[in-house]
Amino acid sequence: MSIETGPKETGQRSRKDLACTAVATAYQKAFGAELKRRVVDDGEPFVVAQADTPHEIFHAMDIALVTNQWWSAYISAKQLSARYFDVMAERGYPANSCKYCSLGLACTLANDPKTAPWGGLPKPALLVARLTCDCIQHVFEQWAQALGTEFFPIEAPAWEHKEGDWFRHSRTQWERVYQPDRVQLLVDEMADLIAVLEQRTGRRFDAAKFHHLMERINEQEGYIAEAAEMIGSARPCPVSIADQMPNTMIPQWHRGSDWAVEHARRFRDEVAERVKAGIGAAANERIRLMWIGAGVWHDPGFYQALEDRLGAVFVWSMYMPFAGPQYIRELDGRDMHALASRICSMNEVLHLPPWMNGWMTAEADRCGIDAAIVLVPPDNRLSQSGTRLTAQALEQAGVPVLALDGDMVDAKSWNHDRMVAQVADFLAQRGLIQGTAA
């Protein structure tokens, strides 16, 4: 879940078509500078947290937040990831250990203030992560120890109530969909989290501010959901994946803020204008593609190379259409429970059957998808999880699927030209284009 669009380590840059994309990236750049001022210069208490944790709590308490995935992307943008992975290897961590969540730990262990972003992270008040895999608790435990602070883990409980069409009911029937005891567990854990934060930061949780935030998040995600609807139904696809991702993810990091709500509205309006004018992301749209998995952050030009060469447009990636079903919640006076229902399965619906395949198959149908490309990272069970069963479900629904072996943050195994050619060959083999890109 990167938001950086600055220089990358390898690959090719992407082209941005929407005016609001530049606004979003400029805002994020300024936010980075402001965050550094708060955390490093002013020494404000801050938290390091995974993307799938209740950021709303930190926002409502006005606690500065460094999201692990954002920090990783920031490190990557400084072209430091390869060096830090080498440091991990030098320290004896096997080279196959999961890289997606450990780059921040690697940066801290490297302990090189001269070259580290911000000179390295100062001591946070707390580290927070949901335990969605076997490795994250170990990464965060060790990171907290290295930073001299505490780790607050959050359970990722089993999910026995299975609704494959969860996305149709999650706004209103969220307690049933996400299982009442799972929702309650996270409510209880968040109460503990708030108590720890109050004790460690001196900040107070403001229920009224939190309620306002939750309402504003619903408004923001509503705009993004409208944009997703338009992008799925319009022909040609009005917005490339290179514009979809930053305009979804950057506001998502700031969800509920005045800027984020306004930006989501601006994005929705710009999408609507392009639909009305019949403007397409590609000059000659021939194939509508679905991208399953995290973005290839080190080669953002990969997607548009396929648009430019083959008229193969990535209509769908998970970030934008996720906003509607996984974020919008009818509050019903139960703000904390509504938030818990948003967070308690954020990872699971993207990586476990039946939720992953149920949603993605329905989305492929909604968006008129011709073929799907699945990113399968080699060393990460969680990121791989559910991809084969989802691929089979898509094939069953008439959508050809290609699995691409590659990592979202480690560029070592990725070759831009080879990957583009692999997709082109696949599309040719499945009769979607003639010839290949080679």
Partner: protein, 328 residues
Amino acid sequence: MINLDTLLAEADIGFVGLDIPLEVLTANGRKACHLPWDRELPTQRADTWLESGFAPWTRRMLEDWAERRFDRFEQVVFTRGDDNAQRLYYYICELQKRGEIKGPKPVIFDVAYIRRATSAGRTRDALTGLCAQLGVRSDDLAIAAVNARRDVMTAWQAGRQGDGPFWERLTRASLFGEVVATPPAGQTARRILLAGTPPPDGRLHDAVERAGASIIAEAHDRSLNWLGPRVAEDGDPITALAEAILGRTTGARTFGDRGERLVAAARAAHADAVLLWLIEEEESEVWHVPAQRAALAAAGIPALVLTRRAWLDDITGEITNFLTERAA
């Protein structure tokens, strides 16, 4: 020592994960059997469903499931305390829904290891829920019987002096049913502690034996202590069981300093050296390799560290060289 197919034929319920309490599974005289991973057959069907990051044992289990080897069980319980096991649960549910496989009803044991009251409560609720799903009353839990098994196995471990392959077979057999054994005589001159990933069978123990030493204890999930700490036999049985489960020190989701823990295990076993062996698909223990290596070095305990290994690894050459160098 055992006939696995006989035990499978006699068992009433299956399980996947060593932190699922036998006290619940074997209540009311039920016989419980961990799903085996013994058959060295191609896993063609499982490979179409499971991604490369799954541990190899999951493929064999799923292939056997698809071939209806476990059909006689009404239920199979999977733990959430291991990522492979919990994902396998979701995959099997989905494959059954699609009609791709049949077999017993999958059940998940939602154990929660975080050291907070909310997680302890979740584990108690999970135990209560598991009892309800299996039709077991809390008064029926087989606490005393399983404690007796624990005591026998603890005594075996305390008296273990050599013949690593025998003890490996015995430990593995104990997952599939109750075992009786006469401990072998003899004492090894060179005592090795095995840590990291539980191996598929006795191949590591055999290799160490061939090199003139013996594995005399295991510091991973599948040791003679796999049943975990004793469960208090007075007071509320669910609370007692939850406390014992949360007192476990092995397993992917447990917390604590694994460097110190490994040194303590090596000292308790009077080990001359440690063999730390991890497979390519290992995702939890792998994060502790530097700390474990450093702790062992600080304690002056020699270690052979083998990471990213194939599950069906042959370490004969490496362990022989390691022990030869140490002897020189």
